[in-house]
Each structure stands twice: as structure tokens, then as C-alpha cells.
């Protein structure tokens, strides 16, 4: 139970229900601000550049990339894993915190889920392009075909990956959407514009908030929350098997699934922090996303950062303890020292050391610093994936095939394109969708405010 006396009210400003609706809906009714148009324009340019790079890849082939026989996976897989990691925030926030009865999630889960859907969508581009002949991508569906029928290999991590990513995208998108239905109804009933009434009315699916609707809505949210909690763990575990099932030094390790899952939640929470600091600054949502919300995220980040540091140390220890000269070489000659020293230490510093600054209350409360640290974490997580992929692939068992890797402009272009897709997706979310779950915030208002009716304490969890 949330103890207001100890932790302070969750929603500040002594709001009533009506104020909550109008505060959160306000950005939808206001005219589009100039900064929004500018940033959207830039992100559209980035998207167009990315589309051009994708066109190059498809029309000319994978040869336009810097990947070669040894380093078969380059920036594409780094960025794929990076985006999927960021995409873990939504489920981690809405589902883990729902199950743990954390009421502070209500101000943040909508934005985290939106980010998840866009990030996973951006991630899915990479493996599809990496197939080379993207027009044959449907071969991965196990359907009765004229090639035998030759079925897909159900033992292959690459197939698991396909299943995991598409299921994750579908499930998080539907979870997100159904959470928005009551809020769309609120907009439908509050707006004065006829067009908005019609559009949001359509998307509200005829929601009225009757008891029979809420009964099923609640039942559904617990079923989905319970079952989808598995996804938080399973998706990135499956992504990690892409590596762990192989015999490449540095990949062939049992620590990978938990290590990847924790890393994913780490980058997801960092991205949520980045996004929430922006949202509350620009849209003046300080009463909903309070300092104590950000404080809570910062504390989780310290904890996860410690796990990350432990995981790095474990990997290095096991490389030595295994007695395998290949593992020893990868970790000690090709990561800690060697060609990729910078990337390795960038990963360690950004993920294991910099977030430790959050131990200081002054740092947690200084939002500029918190913002910068959250960006550093995502940079560090990018380096982590670089480190795992490139160091292991560039120098494996056979010294005659050792090589180095650097990306071409096409690979960089595809990445910039996905950044553009992500930013424009998030901007559209800012403008057209209530950024905070209105009905959920209303349901926690009474239980977590100072001025609550003392005679009756009602919890809606």
C-alpha cells in the first residue's frame, strides 16, 4: 500500500478529476507549437535519409554495408538489439509495476508504452533488411508452401527471435491501445470540435465507463498483466540466444539471458527518464510526473547499474576461470586491451560507473544532470552491444580470418532513419494521444492525496 504520510502525495497541486482531464488533454487542443514542427521536420528528414539508405540496401544488396565474412553482423544487429532494449520500458513499467502494485507507474506507463511500440517497430526493420532479399521475408512464416512443404527450423534462435519480436510488437501495441480507450472517450465527451469528437469517438469504440465495461476491463488488465509479465523476461532472453547458442568466444555463455534482460530494462528505464524529463518540462506536467517519480526511476537505475557491473565482472572472471584460451583472448586482448579498448571502457564507464552518481540526492534532484546521465546510459548500452558483437566476431578461432569492421554510410543512414522514425513517432504521440493515462491517474488520486477523506480509504489496486 502507498503511504502518503511517508512518501508524500503522488499527484501534486490538489487536483480534482476535472482538472486532471483538462490538464492532460490540453496539448491535444492547443495549436501545434513551433518547436514541434521544427523537430518533426528534422526527424522526417532523418527518416527520408534512412529510407534512401534502405533503398540502397535493397536495390544493390548487403554489399553496400561494411559487414564481411568474419564480421557478418554489424551495426544492424547492434541497433536492433539496442532498440529492442529500449522497447522493454513499456512492459517493464506497465506490467512489472502493475503486478508489484506500484501506483507511481500511472503517470508514466502510457508514455513508456508508446515509446515501446515505436522502438520495437524501429527494431524490426533491421533483421528484415538483414535477410538480404527482404521481398522473401515471408519465408519465415511456417505456412504450407510449395517448397516441400519445407517447414522452418523451430530449433533456430533466429526463428524464435522472429516469433518473439512480432508477438511483442502485437501484444504491446494492443495493451497500449486498450489502455487508451477510456481516455479517448473522455476526449470525445469533452472536446468542442466536431472533427475531434468524430475521430476520437471512433477510436473510443463506444466506451461509456459503465460498470459492466469496467468489470471486464479490470479483469482483462489483470489477465494481460499476468500473462505479459513473462514477455518482459522472455523477449530479450530469446534475443540473447541468438548469441549464446553459438560457439563464438564471448557469446557462448549462460549468463547471457539474464544479462540481456537486465540490460534491456536498464536502457528502457533510462529512455523513459529522458522522455519524462522532456515531457514534464515542455508540457508542464510537473504535478503528475513529480520529482519523486523521477527519484524512483533514478533509484531503480542505480540498482540495475550495479547488476550490470556485476555481469561485466562475471563475464571477465568466467573467461579466466574457464581456462579457455579463446575466451581469455577475447576478453583480455580484444576487449579490455586491444583494438576495441575505447568501446569496452565506454560501456563500463557509462553503464556501471556514471549511474552510481544517482546515489547522491543532489544528483537525483538535479534534472539536467539526471537527463545527461540517462543519455549516457543509452550511449553505454549501445557500446555494450557493439562490444559484444564486433569484438567477438572480428577475431575468433582462426587468426587468418581476423579482420576489423567499420560501418559504411548506408549502415549509418539506416540507423539515422530509425532515430528519425522514433522521434517522429514520439512527437505524434505528444500531440495526438493523452500522454498520461487519465482514468488511471484519477483512480489513484484519492488514495494518494493529502486531502483524502479520512473516514474511508479506498484502494483501487
Amino acid at each position: 500500500m502507498y503511504k502518503t504520510e511517508v512518501r508524500g502525495p503522488l499527484i501534486l497541486g490538489d487536483k480534482n478529476y476535472r482538472q486532471i482531464s483538462s490538464d492532460i488533454i490540453a496539448p491535444i487542443d492547443q495549436p501545434i507549437p513551433a518547436w514541434w514542427k521544427a523537430v518533426f521536420g528534422i526527424s522526417m528528414l532523418a527518416t527520408l535519409f534512412g529510407l534512401y539508405a534502405m533503398y540502397k540496401t535493397v536495390s544493390e544488396g548487403i554489399g553496400t554495408w561494411g559487414v564481411n565474412n568474419s564480421v557478418g553482423w554489424g551495426w544492424e544487429i547492434i541497433n536492433f538489439v539496442w532498440w529492442i532494449g529500449i522497447g522493454h520500458a513499456g512492459t517493464a513499467f506497465s506490467i512489472f509495476l502493475l503486478i508489484l502494485r506500484q501506483k507511481w507507474r500511472t503517470s508514466i506507463n502510457r508514455a513508456a508504452e508508446a515509446m515501446t511500440v515505436v522502438a520495437v517497430g524501429a527494431a524490426a526493420i533491421f533483421p528484415a533488411l538483414h535477410m538480404g532479399r527482404v521481398w522473401l521475408a515471408f519465408f519465415i512464416f511456417p505456412y504450407p508452401n510449395t517448397r516441400g512443404p519445407l517447414w522452418v527450423n523451430f530449433n533456430s534462435p533466429l526463428f524464435w527471435d522472429f516469433i518473439a519480436i512480432s508477438a511483442y510488437l502485437l501484444i504491446s501495441a494492443s495493451f497500449w491501445y486498450y489502455g487508451m480507450v477510456p481516455d479517448f472517450a473522455t476526449i470525445r465527451d469533452k472536446t468542442t470540435s466536431k472533427i475531434k469528437k468524430a475521430v476520437y469517438g471512433f477510436f473510443a469504440f463506444g466506451w461509456t465507463g459503465s460498470s459492466r465495461e469496467w468489470l471486464r476491463y479490470e479483469a482483462l488488465s489483470y489477465v494481460l498483466g499476468g500473462i505479459a509479465a513473462v514477455l518482459v523476461v522472455s523477449v530479450h532472453s530469446i534475443v540473447s540466444t541468438d548469441f549464446a547458442v553459438s560457439v563464438i568466444p564471448g557469446w557462448h555463455t549462460t549468463v547471457f539471458p539474464p544479462y540481456f534482460v537486465v540490460g534491456a530494462i536498464f536502457s528502457g528505464f533510462a529512455m523513459v527518464m529522458t522522455l519524462m524529463i522532456i515531457i514534464r518540462k515542455i508540457y508542464k506536467f510537473q504535478d503528475y510526473v513529480t520529482d519523486s517519480h523521477l527519484n524512483a526511476i533514478a533509484k531503480i537505475l542505480i540498482f540495475i547499474s550495479l547488476i550490470m557491473g556485476t555481469a561485466y565482472a562475471t563475464e571477465i572472471f568466467i573467461a579466466w576461470y574457464s581456462g579457455s584460451q579463446y575466451e581469455m583472448f577475447t576478453f583480455f586482448k580484444n576487449r579490455i586491451t586491444g583494438d576495441y579498448t575505447f568501446q569496452f571502457w565506454a560501456m563500463v564507464v557509462c553503464n556501471a560507473f556514471i549511474p552510481q552518481l544517482f546515489w547522491f540526492k543532489k544528483v537525483r534532484q538535479n534534472l539536467t544532470l539526471a537527463f545527461i546521465i540517462s543519455l549516457f546510459i543509452n550511449l553505454g548500452m549501445w557500446y555494450e552491444r557493439f562490444n559484444i558483437l564486433i569484438t567477438s566476431l572480428s577475431k575468433d578461432y582462426l587468426p587468418s580470418s581476423w579482420t576489423t569492421y567499420s560501418p559504411t554510410w548506408v549502415e549509418v543512414g539506416v540507423y539515422i532513419g530509425t532515430l528519425g522514425i522514433f522521434v517522429s513517432g514520439v512527437l505524434l504521440f505528444f500531440k495526438y494521444i493523452p500522454m498520461i493515462a487519465i482514468s488511471e491517474v484519477k483512480s489513484i488520486l484519492k488514495g494518494t492525496s493529502i486531502n483524502k477523506n479520512d473516514t474511508k480509504h479506498i484502494s483501487h489496486e
Binding site: L170, S211, R212, L224, S443, T455
Partner: protein
């Protein structure tokens, strides 16, 4: 058809609940209650139960059995492929796909069930007695025909228990 309803509008859930108990005690049948957010007491007072968890379990069971059977059929019966001498019925590694597809089945089938049972679907003609109930008001409605000649008494109870407005309205579906 006469579809007149008596509508009581309340400002918060506590006064609403007091009124709910009072009208029930006096033998009136509540038509429906509309709230801006889920209020468990309201759901309990309306006396409805959901068998959602059972349905979800059945979907999950069928999904898991279905996908395992499918993989067994394709990988063992229809076209067995020898991957480095490993058994074609690679049960442990089938579990990965089974888990994910089970979750997907449960999610999609549950959403569909929700849509059917709660009657939430695109283009639905809905009945919303008071549009403020999706914003900040708690609305209780009564079928006027059912309350018969005790309408006055009912309105009295609602007002006495703190309704900010009590009025009559003919409900029509809107799009």
C-alpha cells in the same frame, strides 16, 4: 418505446456508494452506474462477476497444445530434417516458441472476448446518459418504468444522499 430513465449525478465515489446502498435497501433496481475510473465497490454492488480468468486459461491451454501439436506434425511427421543428428522431436527447444505463441493467443483471444462481452468495438452505437461521467461525475441511472409510481421517493433518496443533480431523460443510442 418509452425509454425514460431517472438519472442521478454524484460528485465523488463515497457519496455515490452511500446512495447505492440506500436505494438498494429501499428495493430499487439500479439500471447502470457510469464512473470515470474503475470503482471496485460499484462493480461489486452491481453484482456482476467476470469469468475472464477461466476463459484466458482455456485460450492458453488450447494455444499451447495447438502450437506444440503443430510443431510436432511439421518437424516429426510431415518433413523430418536431420539437424546434425539431433532428434527431430526437439521438445525442449519447442518450448520457446510454445511460450510466446501461448501468450500471444491469450492476449488476442482475451481482447476479442473483451470486445464481445463488454460490447466495445469500432462504430458502436453507445448509450451515454450523461457525458460528464467520462470526466468527473459518477452517474447512476434507473429505468423509470421499473420504479413505477415510486419515482418521487427514489428522487428524494438520491437528493438526500448527496446527488448534485437528479433529472429524467430519454436515452437514445448515439454514434
Amino acid at each position: 418505446m418509452n425509454n425514460n430513465h431517472i438519472i442521478g449525478v454524484f460528485d465523488d465515489e463515497d457519496t455515490l456508494m452511500e446512495a447505492v446502498h440506500e436505494v438498494k435497501k429501499n428495493g430499487f433496481e439500479i439500471g447502470e452506474i457510469y464512473t470515470p475510473y474503475p470503482v471496485h465497490e460499484v462493480i461489486e454492488a452491481m453484482g456482476k462477476k467476470s469469468r475472464f480468468t477461466l476463459a484466458a486459461f482455456i485460450y492458453g491451454f488450447l494455444g499451447a497444445a495447438g502450437v506444440l501439436a503443430f510443431m510436432y506434425y511439421t518437424a516429426v511427421i510431415d518433413w523430418p530434417v536431420n539437424y546434425g543428428g539431433k532428434p527431430t522431436n526437439a521438445f525442449p527447444s519447442f518450448i520457446v516458441v510454445t511460450i510466446v505463441i501461448t501468450i500471444l493467443t491469450v492476449t488476442l483471444a482475451s481482447l476479442f472476448t473483451f470486445s464481445v462481452r463488454a460490447q466495445i468495438y469500432p462504430g458502436k452505437a453507445y448509450i451515454l446518459p450523461d457525458a460528464r461521467s467520462t470526466d468527473d461525475k459518477f452517474v447512476m441511472i434507473f429505468d423509470k418504468a421499473l420504479s413505477g409510481n415510486k419515482t418521487g421517493e427514489l428522487e428524494g433518496i438520491l437528493k438526500e444522499k448527496g446527488a448534485v443533480e437528479v433529472y429524467e431523460k430519454e436515452l437514445k443510442p448515439q454514434k
